[in-house]
């Protein structure tokens, strides 16, 4: 298959970037999108050109490192799934494909398609942890958890932290990410000691990082490779209201 790629090139954060056209030929339909970029980079290096910088790691959809916006959709047209799980057979032969980085103010661009997503790590550092007793493992059945809660916590825990939610959001909001992290721990008794402080601190760090606010367009859940439901944002709103009331009452 042949494609015309329009790829965002930007040497660093200070210089202005632009879309550059590249043609790729004789690509197998079963090539993944990232492999196709590898093939292109090989020809660029052979030709003495600077290769295209892009993020990737596990290439099996679990690490959340790859971060491309393809034809205006974070992770490309094959939802749910990360870019590494996107295959060229998803595109028409001869198609023009636009590749841009995740564009969020809180994800400063480093080079070409690589952005710095440490803002998400700082949200987790603000409260995405539990207080655990160090020492020998406790008896497994000493803490009872209803199956329903365990399932919901597991669903929220599926978040791989790629940041596609913020990249897709018309407002550049990281609510789905924060909601997944807050929900995951608040459904479980192990997360309860910090239940109130967690949600208040994580939301305040999220705001301080400069992410936008949620206007309930649900674009985030549509592109999420881990299929995190936007109903966790409702859960986050509940948790926040509950914590704010308790804090307001002086607890």
């Amino acid at each position: 298959m042949n494609f015309l790629l329009r790829i965002w090139r930007q040497p660093n954060a200070k210089l202005r970037g632009k879309l550059v056209d590249y043609e790729v030929r004789d690509i197998s339909p079963n090539t993944s999108f990232l492999e196709m970029l590898d093939i292109l980079n090989e020809t660029l290096v052979t030709g003495g050109t600077e290769p295209i910088a892009f993020d990737s790691d596990c290439r099996e959809g679990i690490c959340g490192t790859c971060s491309l916006t393809i034809n205006g959709e974070p992770h490309g047209p094959d939802h749910p799934g990360a870019v590494c799980e996107l295959y060229m057979r998803k595109f028409r032969d001869g198609a023009t494909i636009t590749v841009e980085p995740f564009r969020v103010g809180s994800f400063p661009l480093l080079k070409d398609l690589v952005v710095d997503r440490r803002a998400l790590d700082r949200i987790v550092q603000a409260g995405g942890f539990i207080s655990a007793r160090a020492g020998s493992a406790p008896e497994a059945n000493s803490i009872l958890i209803p199956k329903y809660d365990a399932d919901l916590a597991m669903e929220a825990a599926a978040c791989i932290g790629c940041g596609a939610c913020a990249a897709a959001c018309p407002n550049g909001s990281a609510m789905l990410f924060t909601a997944a992290k807050v929900s995951h721990l608040s459904f479980l008794p192990q997360g309860h000691p910090e239940r109130e402080s967690r949600v208040l601190r994580m939301v305040s760090v999220m705001d301080a990082e400069g992410f936008g606010s949620c206007t309930n367009t649900y674009e985030c859940e549509a592109v999420c490779p881990a299929e995190i439901s936007a109903s966790f944002i409702a859960k986050l709103n509940r948790e926040y209201a509950r914590a704010a009331v308790q804090r307001g009452a002086g607890e």
Partner: protein, 216 residues
């Protein structure tokens, strides 16, 4: 959350106002009596008006602030952007809201303060001695441009509500995975029922189904 709560108050007003207006189809005595009844509330009516005005101001002030923050959250726009799930209505709430605001200003000048149409001053009281709201509405809507602007304003209000009337459940945390799509559908149906309800009045006037009770 502030936007959600003020939005709910305004939705209740929209429903109440529609029910009041639909009395035009029952007859002149009904709607004229209803408007007289509202005016008889006196200071209470002004209290309600001030409350609604404050609600509108807060609703707009907070959303404009949010919209500015949200624009700042993405300093460099996408060159190519396509949406998978976000509806047109949900992405253009500020635009639809501001046009609705312009519509409300005109609507108040038109029917409440009555400064845009000099003919309204010539209307005589109806046989029961009430102000003839019925004929005022009919004369008002007989103008194609006026009716056209009303229908446009209501179309944008319906667009605004098709997102807003279900979105507030999410903001207040009152939904879950199963309920969200049902609420979204319900919100859209509600919004377009509001549109049909309100536009039925100018449409009925334009088709001559509702005629003035007095000649000017």
């Amino acid at each position: 959350m502030i936007v959600a709560v003020t939005g709910i108050i305004l939705i209740f007003f929209v429903i109440g106002h529609l029910l009041g207006n639909l009395q035009i189809f029952i007859g002149p005595d009904w709607i004229n009596g209803y408007s007289q009844h509202l005016r008889d509330l006196g200071p209470l009516l002004w209290l309600i008006r001030i409350f609604l005005l404050a609600t509108v101001v807060i609703h707009i002030y907070v959303t404009i602030q949010l919209a500015i923050e949200n624009r700042r959250a993405r300093p460099e726009r996408y060159i190519d952007k396509s949406y998978v799930k976000a509806t047109f209505a949900s992405r253009h709430m500020v635009m639809s809201g501001l046009i609705v605001l312009a519509f409300i200003v005109y609507h108040l000048a038109h029917f409440t303060v009555r400064v845009t149409d000099p003919r309204f001053g010539l209307l005589k009281a109806d046989p029961l001695g009430h102000y003839d709201v019925y004929s005022m509405m009919v004369y008002g809507f007989q103008n194609y441009y006026v009716s056209g602007f009303y229908i446009l304003g209501l179309f944008l209000l319906a667009l605004h509500l098709s997102h807003g009337s279900s979105s507030f459940f999410q903001s207040l945390g009152l939904n879950d995975k199963k309920l969200t799509p049902r609420l979204a559908l319900g919100g859209r149906i509600f919004a377009w029922l509001i549109f049909i309800g309100y536009t039925s009045i100018p449409v009925a006037v334009l088709f001559g189904l509702v005629k003035p009770t007095q000649q000017l």
